[in-house]
Amino acid sequence: MERAASRDGFGKGLVELGERNPDVWVLTADVSESARTHWFQEKFPKRFVQVGIAEQNMAGVAAGIASCGKTVFISSYGVFNPGRNFDQVRVSICYNNVNVILHGSHTGLTVGPDGATHQALEDIAITRVLPNMTVVVPADFEEARKATIALGERGGPAYIRTCREKFPVFTKPETQFEIGKANVYREGKDVAIFAIGPMVYESLRAAEMLSKEGIDCAVIDCHTVKPIDKKAVVEWARKCGLIVTVEEHQVNGGMGSAVCEVLSEEYPCRVLRHGMYDKFGESGSAEELLRKYGLDADGIAKKVREGMKMKR
């Protein structure tokens, strides 16, 4: 299977969007090549802005540009954007309610050798609590491209989260993508795995392994963390009676927490949240880190087996 990074999908999506809409602007904070905004810069230099290593100013400048009728993407690593500039995102973007879309590149453990400082594992938690904000985590290159275009057309405030590492591109150009509507990539009756980002593919692999043990897993790509697809969450809780959530993010406050919030109010059901257990990451290759922290197919399968034991 072809492998590509979701940050590349974001970069390609931006160019497509820029061709369609002359009011799309893109800002970078000194990471244009690595966060893949340089393709947009080459084509549309007059709508590209380099702010230097200044994510707080970037958020404010974007708010100003957006208030002149533009759709503005601001891009940096997830730890800085929305990490470094949280208050600017809260006040100048979300409360100001302007059409700005944050791009957090290099998120999750799979940032790899750069280590914990650069592995955004809290970004979903801090964005999804903000009023007016939409939070989208694409599963692969193709979904990132579509999500970027969809968010640009729909408008901000929003946050899109991508990864540095190349992962299998398992969705197709014709696969449907709609903000707020979860995609079911595998049906199953014993347990429903809700996953985001590269964890969707890993969960599909885990489901294959588990099927040989007689455990029938559904795999749902919950790409929109906010507003979460409540209908899908409740429907799968009803069908399976057990949910496992998987994300490259702290288990506290992430997509798993969002699933728990829905179910505790609407259809109480056991949920096992899998992700980072209140820890920082470390240096290593993406593959090594996913294995060590149980976020590869084996680790996910182990978590599902734990859940199945509780179910019986």
């Binding site: 230097g52 200044a54 707080q56 100013n57 404010g60 400048v61 100003g64 208030s67 208050d87």
Partner: protein
């Protein structure tokens, strides 16, 4: 027809006096809010909205308008009073300030009230917003300008200096910032809390055009704004030396008046003093 309100110097002074009286009454009614800074900025707001800026109260979103970004949002009573006097909304509404359901939020919220260009209240963010607007204006050859009101105290924030570098890099000659240099912040004098000087030298070395003025001298305010229009390829910082609480002796220069409001007696005294000042202005030639 949208455009400028060409008030005379004397008319602007009278308008500033009206705005000060409105602010006192609003704060008395609201029972909380920021007095000294709001009163100290009345001359600058009157000069901007009744002489300098192109705008249209009947069409607040007119594309060709000059934009005013208020960065130190806590002085919004002066902005609200100015907008009401300019005709953006009815003056009676001023007395809903800070009350439940009011469009006049404790700190300004874009979208709630006509004429508000940006949400502010968290210090240090407005200059970035103003620079973003100015960049669009510059790249798209717009004729409108961006004015940004900023406080001295908020220059403690690092983001301000990020924006200062940005505006110089992109040669935002269509951006005029006005600093309310009133020397006070919540915990005391700015130079004790975190020394800011030499501010003019700092701005010049960052590549800005800098003018220092008496922020209560309407002629100087207008001249500095007009000169900034003629500066090509450089943003302008007008350091406006002001007296916090100007015109109300018990309030002047005291940082304790940064965040408190007058009692009924104090408000009556302030109105009386301002009425006397009004008579003096009217008697001027």
């Amino acid at each position: 027809m949208p455009g400028r309100t060409h008030m005379s110097i004397k008319e602007i002074k009278l308008m500033a006096n009206t705005i000060r009286q409105d602010v006192i009454r609003m704060l008395l009614e609201a029972k909380s809010g920021h007095s000294a800074g709001s009163i100290g900025l009345a001359d600058i707001f009157a000069a901007l909205y009744f002489h300098v800026m192109y705008h249209d109260p009947k069409n607040p979103n007119w594309e060709g308008r000059d934009r005013l970004v208020l960065s130190n949002g806590h002085v919004c009573p002066v902005l609200y009073a100015t907008l009401a006097n300019a005709g953006y909304f009815q003056k009676e509404e001023l007395f809903t300030l800070r009350k439940l359901g009011s469009r006049l939020q404790g700190h300004p919220h874009r979208g709630s009230l006509p004429g508000i260009e940006n949400t502010s209240g968290s210090l240090g963010q407005g200059l970035s917003i103003a620079a973003g607007m100015a960049l669009v204006g510059k790249r798209e050859n717009k004729r409108w300008r961006v004015y940004c009101i900023t406080s001295d105290g908020e220059h403690d924030e690092g983001q301000i200096w990020e924006a200062v570098m940005f505006a110089a890099k992109y040669k935002l000659g269509n951006l005029t910032a006005i600093m309310d240099r009133n020397n006070i912040q919540i915990d005391g004098f700015t130079e004790d809390v975190m020394p800011l000087e030499p501010l003019a030298e700092k701005y010049r070395s960052f590549g800005w055009h800098v003018v220092e003025i008496d922020g209560h001298n309407v002629r100087e305010i207008i001249d500095a704004c007009e000169r900034s229009r003629a500066v090509f390829n450089k943003p302008t910082m007008i350091i406006a030396n002001t007296i916090p609480g100007k015109g109300i002796p018990y309030m002047e220069f005291l940082n304790e008046w940064h965040g408190k409001t007058p009692t009924k007696e104090q408000a009556e005294e302030a109105i009386k003093l301002l009425e006397e000042e009004r008579k003096e202005i009217e008697e001027e030639r």
